[in-house]
Amino acid sequence: MNMPAALHPNSKSKYLTEAQIQEFGARVEAIRREVMDDLGEIDAQYIYKIRNFVRYSEIASRGMLMFGGWIPPVWLLGTGLLGLSKIVENMELGHNVMHGQFDWMNDPTLNGASYDWDTIATGDDWKYTHNYIHHTYTNIVDKDHDVGYSLLRVSEVQKWEPRFLMNIPLAIQLMVFFEWYVGLQRLHLEDVLVYKTKTWKQVWDEAAGLRKKMRRQVVKDYVFFPLLAGPNAIPVFAGNAVANVIRSLWASAVIFNGHFTEDAENFEADNTENESRAEWYIRQIRGSSNFSGTQWLHILSGNLSHQIEHHLFPDMPANRYAEVAPKIKALCAEYGIHYNEANFTQQFSSVWVRLAKCSLPNHWQDKIGQGSNLIRTGLAQLKAKFQ
């Protein structure tokens, strides 16, 4: 047996026998099959509705900025709406369509292979770094580049380097410029900047597609629409810039919540080729975390609020995750697998605690742990004395 997850000492999941693992896998498969056989009109209508929202909200927001951008309340409304439109386009439309979730509709405009989204990253790069690398090697340190993006230290399994002392400020600027980082992710700039295993020449050659996409995005938001607005060029420029940052902040928050939360486990590199389907399912569950909320929160997060279900079934239309989530949760409870779920704020604050802890080497953490314990017991003793 090669459970990829020699259970981490802190894991909240129970040890399962090989037979139990296979049985669990088969039951997950059955849940998937039931939904996939049922796809049809409702799902098609759903994604068309989402796309219409993206289109109409973009027309409305760009219109507001173009014609009324100089009036502060209109600027605020237009910028907010454009940010919202970009969020829904990236999360619920682009991300999900590019997973091939709606390929079965045979609509070439919603085909995962050809769809390209409104962000810096090219569809092709994204499908490589995200759909392939991240979804296959989920949370395996040194294999899944999403484990800290080689910028942050998010797991004790990752080797500590002095640069990780800057974990928190680096994470904050990562959030602000998230779309740019995602765009550059496939180039592995850390190999040039930190590890010196790559040259700038190689980066330039690999970035041909990305340069085209960057040019298009920059021209669109910062040249074309401002120029089109004539005298309103400055408010349009500013509105577009802020909308892009709003989208980056939100997208990164959702993604941090999916894998960097307190109980989301990381795994050591091992031979995933020998991992069975069932073991892969279990790794996906243990490495992901959900957050609860209203239907709107789910739509805005591209249903990545159901990160666990998304990782089990990346090609299932995301509007179905809410329906399978209770079934997966019940199954996890039955087999003693920890189902990591909390509200948005709880998950997000645990991300920052984790980032702070990981900025220090593991043995320092222990010392700090001991230190804080000492202080705590000391305080308790003091309290006891004065009572």
Partner: protein, 317 residues
């Protein structure tokens, strides 16, 4: 890993987010107002549907201005697209006649979901069409010809026949095996009008007969199939879809096998025409069911519906 070098942004995607795609934006709005208004898509209204027999229907379609009627050659077909239960289904049908005003006449036999739905459309319903396509056409100059058709296969043949009788005075023979006599009257009229055209009609219900044909089927023989079969004697092969993280066993064509495993890859005509199911084969050996060609190369484009795996295969889907 450096496939990104070949990346081209999708300028032509249907998304007005890009100002370049202004036409697409206009199409989106136009289509919301009236479904046959788009500037790029070929949309057609159903004018009339007429029964030729209890299960064989003549469909009269009026395409919008985007249909290139002048490109049509007798014998060609069009892909008809219709959304059913959220899925855009696509089938190829031979054009029986193209009227002078550009209207298209199809004849469709009810035999599956798509043909059932198409033949039950109300007048005024809108479907999407492709441009005329296919190379089952008359050679030039038109030689002496012998057509053999059975059942609904008469549609393409009738189209060729109409063209052939006016294109040359070489002898033409038609052997038509039919249960329902669709187009029988029209063909009989042609036979009366053109003495060099000999019509051999066999109603297979009335004349339950066995026929031995002494025909020279050499390279002179052109045929059109709308079906092909996988070699079922081959061993099932493991197939992996990379992006959707799915593995399955394939013993028929890859599309059928994937569907049997509960996957729903994008597809269209299911006969290697429309290219909807085309995708990149990352590794492994496959056989093209249409051409018999074997492909061992890495990162080649294949169409799932006409491809059979002959070794373990990895596909970028």
């Amino acid at each position: 890993m450096s496939t990104s070098v070949e990346y081209k942004p999708e300028w032509i995607r249907e998304d007005f987010i890009d100002f370049i795609d202004f036409i697409d934006f206009i199409d989106f709005i136009a289509e919301k107002i009236n479904p046959v208004w788009p500037l790029k898509k070929v949309k057609a209204c159903v004018v009339e549907i007429q029964a030729l027999s209890p299960d064989f229907y003549k469909i009269h379609l009026r395409p919008n201005q985007n249909f290139q009627a002048q490109r049509f050659q007798a014998g060609q077909s069009i892909l008809v697209t219709l959304a059913m239960n959220g899925v855009r289904q696509q089938r190829s049908y031979s054009i029986v006649t193209l009227l002078d005003n550009g209207d298209v006449i199809l004849a469709i036999k009810r035999q599956g979901k798509m043909s059932n739905a198409l033949t039950q459309l109300p007048a005024g319903a809108v479907v999407e069409l492709s441009q005329p396509q296919g190379n089952f056409v008359l050679p030039a100059p038109v030689p002496s010809l012998c057509f053999i058709a059975s059942g609904s296969g008469i549609t393409a043949i009738y189209s060729l026949l109409q063209k052939a009788v006016v294109s040359s005075t070489q002898p033409i023979d038609l052997l038509y095996f039919t249960r329902d006599d669709a187009f029988h009257a029209e063909i009989k009229t042609l036979a009366l009008m053109y003495p060099y055209f000999k019509y051999h009609h066999f109603n297979t219900v009335e004349q339950h007969q066995h026929l031995c044909q002494q025909l020279d089927l050499s390279e002179q023989f052109h045929s059109e199939y709308f079906q092909m079969t996988a070699d079922e004697n081959l061993e099932a092969q493991p197939v992996q879809f990379l992006r959707s993280q799915q593995d399955f066993q394939a013993n028929s064509n890859l599309l059928d096998s994937a569907e049997a495993a509960g996957l729903r890859p994008a597809h269209g005509c299911r006969m290697g025409i429309c290219n909807t199911c085309s995708c990149t084969k990352v590794s492994g050996s496959v056989r093209n069911l249409l051409t018999g060609e074997i492909d061992h190369n890495h990162n080649t484009q294949i169409k799932l519906c006409v491809t059979q795996a002959i070794s373990p295969v990895v596909i970028n889907l």
